[in-house]
């Protein structure tokens, strides 16, 4: 079975802190994604990556950056966390027919 592991299930940070969310997949997938999920807004794509060192902006990239130094790892970075970035963050990797395999999510609270 494909496994997508997100480093932290729950985080509490203060405004202005730098936040790293890490995601690792074990199926050698090329495509990886970061979404955020908020009540009433559904899933929104932040960034995605089709290859190592490659990144593309999604629908809501402002305030975020990403890093993909190795194929299995895709990191989401909040350079200076703000309260409106309190959310559930979901990482996914993509299989051959286009289906996504998600991690368990990281619930971030910014105080």
């Amino acid at each position: 079975d494909v496994k997508v592991t997100q480093s932290s299930r729950y985080l509490v940070k203060r405004t202005g802190e730098k936040v790293f969310l890490e995601c690792v997949q074990d199926m050698d997938h090329e495509n990886m994604f970061w979404y955020r999920q908020d009540p009433g807004l559904g899933l929104r794509l932040i960034y995605f990556s089709y290859d190592v060192k490659m990144k593309e902006k999604g629908d809501i990239p402002e305030g975020y950056s990403v890093s993909r130094e190795k194929k299995e790892r895709f990191s989401l970075i909040l350079e200076s966390a703000s309260t409106n970035q309190t959310s559930m963050y979901l990482c996914a990797s993509q299989g051959g027919t286009g289906e996504l395999f998600f991690g368990e999510g990281s619930r971030l609270t910014v105080l």
Binding site: Y35, L45, L100
Partner: protein, 113 residues
């Protein structure tokens, strides 16, 4: 850039009943996928139907796709309390960034024992 819209937003049924959820979308698609999310967890892929398919089955799940109406439905037969979750449709377009999945806002299903 929301594509899929699920209907209803919430659905409450008794165990043993069937649950039907609908999804409408706006533009041409390569495939349409359904996902399930238990509260506070990640999404789990359920089933994928390609644009040239009309119906697909997987266990107690039945998915239909009508490309002329740009709509899909997910039927869960003989529902169980463990089916309580949110269900999302996601559409995939053709090529490049259009190949990224776009998710609807989901239907929250509650199955009462």
């Amino acid at each position: 850039s929301q594509q899929g819209e699920e209907d209803p937003q919430a659905l409450s049924i008794q165990e043993g009943e069937n649950a039907t959820m609908n999804c409408s979308y706006k533009t041409s698609i390569n495939n349409l996928q359904w996902y399930r999310q238990n509260s506070g967890r990640g999404l789990v892929h359920l089933i994928l139907i390609r644009s040239n398919e009309r119906e697909k089955h997987s266990g107690r799940l039945r998915v239909t796709l009508d490309t002329s109406k740009k709509s899909s439905s997910l039927l869960i037969t003989a529902s169980r309390a463990a089916d309580t979750a949110s269900y999302f449709c996601a559409t995939r377009g053709y090529g490049g960034s259009q190949g990224n999945l776009i998710f609807g806002k989901g239907t929250k299903l509650s199955v009462k024992p």
